[in-house]
């Protein structure tokens, strides 16, 4: 029925299935440069701390960290869900996601600075400050209950648990997939499918709580049941963008020239479009419910993001994170142009960084009612950008390192053939 030329199926050791050397050679510059940029950026961020933004340093680090973590988590979820629904189309790009998913392990080490911040009372999470309750006139009994959850030991235990679960899942699926490259064993796919259901449940639970811990508890008196879903929406959207961009870059450098077709970009484009809508839906619902209910304990969080430069940023997010890419990726014609799709994907990755920044940074402000959060001046702005760029470079460098030792496509996946010949309706 197809009008396409019959696809060629290459042998597993085809050179286009490994990381192109032009990209592999970028590893060291990215790792080194990224590390330096990150350190300098965070250093500058500490220097940019001021009376009005006393927690700027650690918050900047957390922003950069949350950004790459959501990318890795989104990739993990992408892999899990493809197995869960036995997807055929995505096999050619799944390895790219797998390469980023396994970065959960190094990210666990990069989490240490955040744990480290717990030793400095109130320098990142204000609930670590023993005087917080009395300074803000909070009821002591209530605060005691709150800190039975939000306290350093329990926080550390939970963080370790999250990383154990994510790391375990990532390693399991990474091993399954790379072993299959060698053995071509079909049962491996069956096993991975079998565990995908429970894995998604675990993922949903841990991601939700990690979002509560690392994002929501920055404002310890604020709460929103939807917050975990909001973080998840950003993660899954940006993971699809990441896969699109990386696929495009790989193809530009000669890898998987024939395997990833315009159909895959079209499909990724559809998901990107869909998840832009999903992100907007979650973000809007969260805002609307809080705005409408107008209860002081909830509006506080949005109130901080409604004034000054963050007010502008909020509007910008609506327009640039939703409206512009929504219109931009709506057309089938655009989704069927890999170059354009890669461009939009890059754009959304930038927007996602701003989204994370918008979530984390206002909580670095001095927590009194009248205080309007700011960007920390030119120094703070440069510091934030440097940190995020550095962290991202580090992340990509690590990804390349992982990829260089392996194939960039799951060559012996039983559904590879289906994926290659896949056509959109």
């Amino acid at each position: 029925m197809s009008e396409h030329a019959a696809p060629k199926f290459k042998p597993a050791d085809d050179p286009t299935f490994s990381l192109p050397s032009s990209l592999a050679s970028l590893q060291l510059p990215l790792l080194g440069g990224g590390l330096v940029a990150l350190i300098v950026g965070v250093g500058m961020a500490f220097a940019a701390e001021s009376e009005s933004m006393p927690r700027f340093g650690f918050s900047t680090y957390l922003t950069a960290y949350m950004y790459v973590l959501t990318l890795a988590l989104g990739s993990l979820f992408f892999v899990l869900i493809q197995h869960l629904v036995r997807a055929g189309w995505s096999v050619v790009v799944r390895r790219i996601a797998e390469c980023f998913m396994i970065l959960i392990l190094p990210l666990a080490i990069l989490f240490l600075p955040i744990l480290f911040s717990l030793f400095f009372e109130g320098r990142l999470f204000v609930w670590t400050d023993p005087n917080f309750a009395s300074a803000h006139g909070l009821d002591a009994k209530m605060w005691a209950t709150k800190t039975s959850f939000l306290n350093a030991p329990f926080f550390i235990a939970r963080s370790v648990l999250y990383f154990l679960i994510w790391g375990g899942l990532a390693v399991y699926y990474w091993r399954g997939s790379t072993t299959q490259d060698e053995t071509g064993e079909r049962a491996a796919t069956d096993r991975m499918q079998y565990w995908a259901g429970p894995a998604v449940m675990l993922f949903a639970l841990t991601t939700s709580f990690a979002a509560f811990d690392w994002g929501m508890s920055l404002a310890p008196m604020w709460f929103s049941t939807m917050f975990g879903v909001y973080i998840f929406a950003g993660a899954i959207l940006s993971a699809h963008c990441l896969i699109t961009v990386v696929s495009y870059v790989l193809q530009r450098h000669g890898a998987m020239k024939d395997e990833i077709t315009v159909e895959h970009y079209h499909d990724l484009g559809k998901y990107i479009f869909g998840f832009i809508v999903f992100w907007t839906y979650i973000g809007f619902s969260q805002y609307l419910l809080i705005w409408y209910g107008n209860m002081p304990e909830e509006t506080e969080w949005f109130f901080a993001r409604q004034r000054g430069v963050f007010g502008g940023l909020s509007i910008a997010l609506i327009l640039l994170h939703w409206l512009v890419p929504f219109l931009g990726t709506m057309s089938r014609h655009i989704r069927r142009r890999p170059g354009l799709m890669a461009m939009w994907a890059c754009y959304i990755l930038v927007m996602h960084a701003i989204d994370i920044y918008w979530i984390v940074m206002p909580e670095a402000r001095h927590l009194v009612h009248e205080n309007i959060p700011n960007l920390g001046g030119a120094l703070g702005l440069i510091a934030s950008i440097l940190s995020i760029v550095g962290m991202t470079a580090l992340f990509v460098g690590l990804g390349l390192r992982v990829a260089s030792g392996n194939r960039v496509i799951a060559v012996r996946d039983p559904r590879l053939r289906e994926s290659i010949v896949f056509e959109n309706l």
Partner: protein
């Protein structure tokens, strides 16, 4: 069949296929042969056939996009105009133009109009509905919606030539090739359909006309109301009945314990005439019952209680002339000329009709009753018997009698205010005193005046007595 063929317009040629693959290859062949006015008829969408036939993509997505955009604009304009401009209404502290709250409706209308765009756009682009189609004349074509695939070349095609087309189609592997002829079913629409249509249209207008008529008619009569709603006031007037309450009264009596404004005067002692504290000491349950009855605002119960209190004393071991009920012995009001005047007035209104202006028990009602000789008539008491003097009949007891009645006399608590009842008590005391007054009771300053008045009165009486004596003497002389 051939002779009928010659009379009819030939629309084109169709060929039947049994599988998708043969159809597709046939499509490619006729496309490559240069035919452009071609079409395939299949029971399900066959993928790749648009390329095989050279069908161009549709503009439907654009129609939907603009329809959706129109929906958004309509919704936002409508919401902003209605709630932000034309009808401003403060609700839950939200601004008049609340964009977050306007999003859901805008979203729904966008989807609705875009869906209409897709649905009706498809109709329009496909030229549907189209009930008459020459393809349908061939009974074999019925299987085009079941399991057969048809390829059609239109006679209007530049390259069309019946014989050539037939051979080309037979060549592609079709086992049935046939010409498509003009539909020979009658073209006129049956008349009953028009009649039904007309009647339906006419009938559908009637309700509208009725509504219109009702809207424009000027009439002093109220419009017909299926549901009354709030057009008529359901407020109740006094003295009306209602089934809503057990007593059928529309006007509700006061809630028990209600004291009218300005009527809460002093303590319970003042209200009952009984020294409740003393009663409490003597007979606590009795006192509580009295208070309870009072809280119920039930005049009869109060009266019963009060009489009970009084009776309980009477029934005690030795019937004593002395009443041991702890009546209030002193008028709680400030006794002054104003109170006296008030008491005189009230006594005049309420008491004098029976008891007489002087309190001697011979008011107009009594006179009339005596005249008529009613045998059940109990004559009103004379205020001037010594059992009614304040040493034997304390002020409280007198007050209580006025309030609750005694023997034939009804209670006046409902008619006379508490203050006024005490005023009457004061006035009655004054009346009693007036019958036994001595000069000692007269204030110094007014003694002369009274003396002269008394003298004048005595003189006058003397004069009248003399005159009477004279007159009597004169009669005797006659």
């Amino acid at each position: 069949m051939s002779d009928t063929n010659s009379e009819k317009i030939v629309h084109g040629m169709m060929a039947e296929f049994t599988t998708v693959d043969t159809l597709l290859s046939a499509c490619r062949r006729i496309r490559d042969a240069g035919y452009t006015k071609t079409d395939a008829y299949t029971p399900f969408p066959v993928h790749g056939i648009d390329k095989a036939l050279g069908i161009k993509p549709t503009i439907l997505p654009w129609i939907c996009f603009f329809a959706g955009l129109t929906g958004t604009c309509i919704a936002l304009t409508m919401e902003i105009w209605m709630n932000g401009v034309d009808y401003k209404y403060i609700i839950s502290g939200k601004p008049f133009i609340s964009l977050p709250a306007f999003i859901p409706v805008a979203f729904e209308l966008t989807i609705l109009l875009a869906s209409f765009g897709a649905f009706f756009g498809m109709w329009a682009l496909n030229g549907l509905p189209r009930f008459s189609n020459p393809m349908f004349t061939d009974p074999r074509f019925d299987r085009a919606t079941d399991d057969r695939f048809f390829l059609y070349i239109d006679a209007k095609d530049e390259r069309y030539d019946a014989a050539g087309v037939r051979s080309l189609l037979t060549d592609t592997g079709s086992d049935y090739v046939s010409e498509v002829l003009e539909d020979n079913t009658p073209k006129e629409i049956p008349r009953p359909i028009f009649v039904i249509w007309g009647v339906a249209v006419a009938a559908s207008v009637i309700p509208l006309l009725c509504v219109l008529l009702m809207r424009v008619t000027n009439s002093s009569q109220p419009r017909f109301h299926i549901f009354m709603d709030m057009d008529f006031s359901p407020a109740k007037d006094a003295q009306q009945v209602t089934s809503l309450f057990a007593d059928n009264r529309a006007m509700r009596p006061d809630v028990p314990g209600t004291v009218a404004r300005g009527q809460l005067i002093g303590s319970l002692d003042v209200m009952t005439g009984i020294d409740v504290d003393s009663l409490q000491a003597m007979n606590a349950p009795q006192a509580q019952r009295l208070v309870a009855a009072f809280m119920q605002d039930d005049q009869a119960a109060i009266a019963d209680e009060v009489t009970d209190v009084a009776k309980a004393e009477d029934d005690k071991e030795t019937p004593s002339v002395m009443d041991t009920t702890p009546w209030v012995t002193e008028n709680p009001m400030t006794v002054d000329s104003e109170l006296m005047a008030r008491g005189q007035q009230q006594f005049g209104i309420y008491c004098s009709v029976c008891h007489g202006m002087d309190g001697k028990g011979n008011g107009l009602v009594n006179q009339r009753a005596q005249e008529k000789g009613f045998d059940t008539w109990v004559p009103p008491s004379n205020m001037h018997q010594d059992t009614l003097y304040s040493d034997k009949y304390p002020d409280g007891k007198l007050f209580s009698t006025i309030s609750n009645g005694i023997r034939k006399m009804p209670g006046y608590a409902g008619q006379i205010k508490v203050e006024d009842r005490w005023a009457i008590v004061a006035y009655v005391r004054a009346l009693q005193k007036s019958q036994n007054a001595t000069m000692d009771l007269i204030p110094e300053g007014r003694k002369e005046e009274v003396k002269s008045a008394v003298d004048a009165a005595q003189k006058e009486l003397q004069r009248q007595a003399d005159e009477a004596a004279k007159a009597a003497a004169a009669r005797e002389q006659k």
